[in-house]
Amino acid sequence: MDKGPAVELDGVTFSYVRGSPILRDVSLKIERGELLFVIGPNGGGKSTLLKIFVGALKPEKGVVKLFGVDIRRFRDWWMVGYLPQNAATLFERMALSVEELLSAVRVKGRGMGLEDVVRLVGVDEPGELLPKRVVDLSSGLLQKVMLAMSLVNRPRLLLLDEPTVYMDQRGVGTFMQVLRRIMNEWEVTTVIATHDVSAISTFATRVLCINREALYDGSIEELLTSEQLCDIYGFHVYALRHGHVWSGQ
């Protein structure tokens, strides 16, 4: 378990519909402790990539390794924390409380105390939050609960699918601060999938652009000054850079 990068993909191809792959020949390595942003248009394969990382989707070609172990033999799933997309829609028509949700995800004997993990993501009054129903939470608070859920087992690999959707720029800032602090304390490898380039441009170090294929893998600065964003998104990109509205041209 102590060998190899956190995630390693070699020539991974995946299709939902036969003959029309949503991911084609994707290879990448994510080193331990690294923060990687996966960007790209909707339907470009970001969520699919994360679902391959959690083993929910099996690639038709290629090899996936987590912490040096082939994913088909990987068993320590507590090491992976996952925040699914569209959190708000997952709990509709359900009276599930925050406490019940976190307990359901927590692995007994390994996970953190519920109050501790809620405090960790920046909630001051855990005692008030835990008995609340998930459906009654504001979107900001819901995303905090979802982050707490992905952290409750003290994972080594954190996979966040659109965690900042519905957040304003300030909310994103607070969210990223919390995440940075946790990454520093725990040395957790983090992968964030997002379509919102402007929200992340000030936080990203390494960025992977994906639109069926891995089109770019490198620093955000180079990406924003290149023409590649246009290729990836078409001509609808407005990225915020150094406080200025900036359009990729």
């Binding site: 799933w77 359900m94 009276a95 409380s97 008995p131 129903r133």
Partner: protein, 267 residues
């Protein structure tokens, strides 16, 4: 007051009402958030088809009406995945397929008591149905108690469930068996057309006012159990179908809960 209980058929009907009153709302509490509310309708129409085909072929055995809804539920879940259909699309296909098969069997001369099958009857419940429903109720209650967290994750998000070590394929199969069997049993007392009400209305009402999933499950069972037993009891006296009476009671409870919800009352 105790007169109905002196009749063997009423004792059987009551026992079925108690067991289905527990099982159907419990299963429904996981179906509704998984957005499969009409699963009961789709698979009960398969039960309808099975009963009609069995009558047409002169088959006396009881296995078919149990096996068919299980296959239907499993088929619905698999069809959704393979053809990437939404729940309502898959359910509409299966519902009409079941109804069409039943219609063909009836046209070809299958003789069944349509009124009893469609709207439920006090007379349909046989001792073997009670054995089956007791088994299903014990399994569903035991499973929900022992695997509450995993069952919740399976409903919320299958990736999260997998990370917790839940074998989602096995859960899908168990889900189909539990839902299919509880529907097969429920159809006898509540009827093909009305069994869905017991799957859907109790969890809909309880999740509106309960402050946790566990309370919601308990409340759904209380609502289902009380309305189905009351409907069955009343059916003996007024001579109306137990399914229909139960739905009327359920709707009254739903309106009461909606009023509580509006008044901000929580349990």
């Amino acid at each position: 007051m105790i007169e109905p209980f002196q009749q063997p058929f009423m004792l059987r009907a009551f026992a079925a009402a108690v067991l289905s009153g527990i099982t159907l709302p419990l299963v429904g509490s996981f179906l509704v958030p998984k957005k499969l509310s009409l699963l009961g309708d789709a698979s009960s129409h398969f039960t309808f088809a099975a009963l009609a085909v069995a009558a047409l072929a002169g088959l006396g055995f009881i296995m078919l009406p149990y096996a068919i809804p299980i296959l239907a539920v499993y088929g619905i879940l698999k069809t959704m995945k393979i053809l990437k259909l939404s729940g309502d699309q898959a359910l509409a296909i299966y519902l009409t397929l079941g109804a069409a098969t039943a219609s063909v069997a009836l046209s070809l001369g299958a003789r069944i008591n349509l009124n009893a099958v469609l709207f439920g009857s006090l007379l349909l419940v046989q001792p073997e149905d009670l054995v089956a429903s007791l088994g299903v109720a014990a399994f569903v209650v035991g499973f929900t108690a022992a695997r509450f967290g995993s069952a919740v994750l399976y409903v919320v998000n299958e990736e999260l469930a997998r990370l917790k070590g839940v074998k989602t394929g096995l859960y899908e199969l168990l889900f189909a068996v539990f839902a299919g069997l509880s529907i097969a049993v429920g159809v006898k007392i509540a009827g093909v057309l009305l069994v869905t009400a017991l799957l859907v209305i109790p969890p809909t009402a309880s999740s509106a006012i309960a402050t946790s999933m566990k309370k919601s499950l308990a409340l759904a069972v209380a609502v289902g159990l009380s309305s189905l037993t009351a409907g069955t009891y009343a059916s003996y006296y007024v001579g109306l179908a137990p399914g229909a009476l139960t739905v009327i009671i359920l709707l009254a409870l739903l309106i009461a809960v909606a009023a509580m919800d509006r008044a901000g009352l929580r349990i």
